[in-house]
């Protein structure tokens, strides 16, 4: 994306999503989308190698940027239980952003369980301690209504720090979900929705695709170091966890989630929100049209 985030948000707000989108989308979902799939025993290492394969963090973060890194920290679970993004993956993303000269790196999530327990028990608070990153709890006063004129939701309060960031990096984990079947990158953005977000389950797939109209990450890094195969999205039993030692990086969330689906024996379009997003022209689920770089690390 050539335009910075603030400019993009202003433009969409001014002109309406419909007018501003097609130009931006062509870049995000255009031909030749690339995914980097890195495998190896060290979560930090494979994260770094995956991003390097896409051209390095410098392609996505510039000196002086305010970056928001959005992991899934939704649940009061430990890293072994694979309900939150792996803390080593999150820390490595933050480290790369700092190396690229980011002015500020903010890490946040609107959690489902008690926020204090989620931040601590996920291991993410500990992992970020040595880094100059800002891990703050959501301040309920900082949501801002955003018009998206989607097919399921017209407007919704979203977290202003996400809307105002120069760069946005999505760092979800791949896991099972009772309604969505799987939750990965596209569904991870529920974590920046304010208000009574649980109501969107009534039209979940379309609502998630609608959200993509206004929240447009520069980079998505899907954590599949451990995946949760059942009793998601919070799990709790190690019997439902599989260790894949994999990280997938890309710029097209539809492609990332489609690749993620294959880890569970599904196809991208088996997921309603992937289909809805693709039908709106927000990305491609056709992995045969995607350049996939596999890296052993």
């Amino acid at each position: 994306m050539s335009m910075d985030r603030r400019g993009f948000i202003k433009l969409t707000a001014a002109a309406g999503a419909g007018l501003a989108l097609p130009g931006g989308l062509a870049i995000a979902a255009g031909k030749g989308t690339t995914l980097a799939v890195a495998k190896g025993p060290d979560p930090a290492m494979i994260t770094r190698r995956a991003v390097e394969a896409l051209g390095g963090i410098g392609k996505f973060v510039r000196k002086g940027d305010v970056v928001v890194v959005k992991p899934n920290i939704g649940w009061d679970r430990t890293p072994e239980q694979a309900a939150n993004t792996n803390p080593e993956v999150v820390a490595e993303v933050v480290r790369m952003c700092i190396e690229a000269g980011a002015k500020k790196v903010k890490v946040l999530d609107r959690t489902c369980n008690d926020p204090r327990r989620c931040y601590v028990q996920s291991g993410i608070a500990e992992a970020l301690k040595p880094l100059d990153a800002e891990l703050k709890h959501i301040d309920e006063r900082r949501f801002r209504k955003v018009k998206m004129d989607g097919r399921a939701i017209r407007e919704w309060p979203l977290y202003s720090e996400v809307l105002d960031a120069d760069r946005l990096i999505n760092v979800p984990i791949a896991k099972h979900h009772g309604l969505a079947r799987l939750t990965m990158s596209i569904k991870n953005w529920m974590g920046v929705m304010g208000g009574r977000r649980s109501a969107i389950h009534q039209k979940l797939d379309q609502a998630l695709a609608d959200l993509m109209l206004v929240i447009r990450p520069d980079l998505t890094i899907l954590d599949a170091v451990r995946i949760l195969t059942g009793n998601g999205p919070q799990g709790g039993s190690l019997k439902d966890v599989r260790k894949l030692d994999t990280v997938i990086a890309g710029t097209d969330q539809v492609a990332v989630d489609s690749y993620g689906a294959t880890l569970f024996g599904l196809k991208g379009r088996d997921l309603g929100y992937v289909a809805a997003a693709e039908d709106m022209g927000l990305g491609t689920s056709d992995l045969s049209a995607v350049r996939i770089m596999e890296i052993k690390a």
């Binding site: 009061d76 489902c112 369980n113 008690d114 926020p115 204090r116 327990r117 989620c118 931040y119 601590v120 028990q121 608070a125 709890h137 301040d139 979900h177 009772g178 309604l179 009574r196 649980s198 109501a199 389950h201 009534q202 039209k203 979940l204 009793n231 999205p233 919070q234 799990g235 709790g236 039993s237 439902d240």
Partner: protein, 516 residues
């Protein structure tokens, strides 16, 4: 107090420093009575309760078992036997607040009501002997923690939030005032905005006790406090004693400053059990005739409480037991009386709970609320989980950690997740997939048990427009549901949720069960 003209001895300054220090410690521990995300709390937040011998004695009588850290209260008994009722004058945070409030008025008339507290003590202990535990209603430490946690502190927090909002909108330096507010939220103010039932009532009672100082200095401490009465009785045998030399002219200067109405001007008829060792009489004496020491001869007024009064208090304490319990039997089986995880069986629970409010203060979601009559009159201000306010967080064990008496057992995380505090049931008439043909899985998504206690009975449902949709209506697995109530809290059917928890199936009860 009579202001700066007064000459103060170093002991008085030491006493004031001690009072201030203990009050700050008390408030610090209160503010620390909240989660930081770890499994345990750092500071020993229930320390003041642990030191309270009234809680020790009444718990021993009512439940034939000792509080969790009872040995600390034995320390206070030993201190009182050595030094007298110094706790009231030097350490008690409620005493200090009373002291401060009393200083707002220079002189107040005294009443001869000091016996009331001894009679209250007898009443409370006799009823504890017959298993009725009402001590916490009047115990000063329980009273203060409860009042501050459930009323004053939430009110201050609310005021701070409202003030910062107002300053943000209309103030001259919105970013400055907002950063001050955020700084306060980072430490002094609670993480979540606390809301408690009966905050108003509890706050008014607190203000009443503080306000009584304007009628008479330390009226609560002098005439009502049952802990003061207990320490006073111990104090009659204390080693530290007061003596008055021949230089005393009987001018009465000491009497006007005495905090405890201990009749310091009466020399041999000094009431040792009413003395807080505040040292004001020493300071006040123009003849320097007062001294405290371990060698002085024991000279004190006899304590005559009256045999009939004592018998009356004991009789009332006895009668209170059946009276409290015949009032309304149905109250004891209120289906919404969901007790915190680890709570003892109801009778034993009520025998131990001192209603200090620690569990409610520490509850990570704020769901633990004080009862009014939900648990019967005997259960006033005991904790009940109200899931619509806050659910029981699956991995959290804090309420059991802070309970001073073991009314809520301290459980490890692995023990706690096995405890059923109730059972969720679905109201099919309100549930979106069951009644309205709309997808919703929020209860299942939120359900925290590793094998989910909510599963889907997948079904094809014909809608009004003729379309058929696949829905996933939720069903509760009675064996797995622990009654944590997160489903009820998060159910998108606002006001009356389509899934809610009742106490049925709670582990602590042998009868309140559904399954074979």
């Amino acid at each position: 107090m009579s202001g700066s003209r007064r000459r103060r001895g170093w002991l008085t300054y030491a006493r004031m420093a001690s009072q201030g220090g203990f009050l700050i410690l008390f408030l610090y521990l209160l503010a620390e009575t909240q989660s930081k995300g770890e499994d345990t709390l750092g500071p020993p937040v229930r320390l003041f309760l642990d030191f309270d011998p009234l809680i020790l004695l009444s718990t021993l009588l009512s439940s034939h078992s000792a509080p969790v850290a009872f040995y600390l209260s034995i320390v206070l008994i030993a201190i009182t036997l050595a030094l007298g009722r110094v706790f009231c004058g030097w350490a008690c945070p409620l005493g200090t607040l009373n002291n401060m409030a009393a200083s707002l008025r220079r002189r107040t008339a005294g009443h001869d009501w000091h016996r009331v507290k001894y009679l209250l003590l007898v009443f409370l202990l006799v009823s504890s002997l017959f298993t009725l535990q009402l001590t916490g209603l009047l115990d000063p430490i329980s009273f203060l923690i409860r009042s501050l946690s459930l009323s004053i502190y939430p009110a201050l927090n609310h005021a701070a939030g409202a003030a910062s909002g107002l300053l943000y909108e209309h103030g001259p330096a919105p970013s400055l005032t907002d950063s001050i507010y955020l700084w306060l939220k980072g430490g002094l103010l609670p993480f979540n905005e606390p809301h408690y039932r009966q905050s108003l009532l509890l706050g008014l009672l607190f203000l009443l006790v503080i306000g009584l100082n304007l009628h008479e200095r330390r009226l609560w401490c002098r005439h009502l406090c049952p802990l003061g009465a207990l320490l006073g009785l111990l104090s009659r045998r204390s080693l530290l004693r007061r003596s008055v030399s021949e230089a005393c002219t009987g001018c009465g200067a000491c009497s006007a400053l005495c905090q405890g109405a201990a009749a310091p001007d009466k020399k041999e008829l000094w009431k040792s059990e009413e003395c807080y060792y505040c040292m004001n009489c020493d300071d006040a004496c123009p003849e320097v005739a007062v001294s405290f020491g371990f060698r002085a001869e024991r000279r004190q007024a006899p304590l005559d409480l009256g045999k009939r009064r004592l018998a009356g208090a004991a009789l009332l304490g006895t009668l209170a037991v059946p009276l409290m319990r015949v009032t309304d039997v149905s109250a004891s089986v209120d289906p919404l009386l969901i007790r915190p995880p680890g709570s003892l069986f109801e009778g034993d629970f009520l025998g131990r709970c001192v209603r200090c409010g620690e569990c409610m203060k520490v509850c990570i979601t704020g769901g633990l609320q004080p009862t009014l009559l939900q648990a019967g009159p005997e259960g006033l201000w005991t904790p009940v989980l109200v899931p619509r306010i806050g659910y029981c967080e699956y991995n959290c064990t804090l309420c059991g950690q802070v309970c001073p008496t073991g009314a809520i057992k301290r459980l490890s995380r692995d023990e706690k997740v096995k405890v059923h505090i109730g059972t969720a049931m679905i109201d099919k008439g309100r549930c979106l997939p069951w009644a309205h043909g709309r997808p919703c899985i929020v209860c299942e998504e939120m359900c925290p048990t590793p094998k989910k206690a909510i599963w889907f009975q997948e079904a094809d449902v014909r809608l009004r427009d003729g379309r058929t949709v696949k829905l996933k209506p939720p069903v509760v697995d009675l064996e797995l549901c622990i009654g944590c109530g997160i489903c009820e809290k998060q159910c998108p059917v606002v006001d009356m949720p389509a899934i809610y928890v009742t106490s049925a199936g709670e582990s602590r009860s042998g009868n309140n069960r559904i399954l074979l």
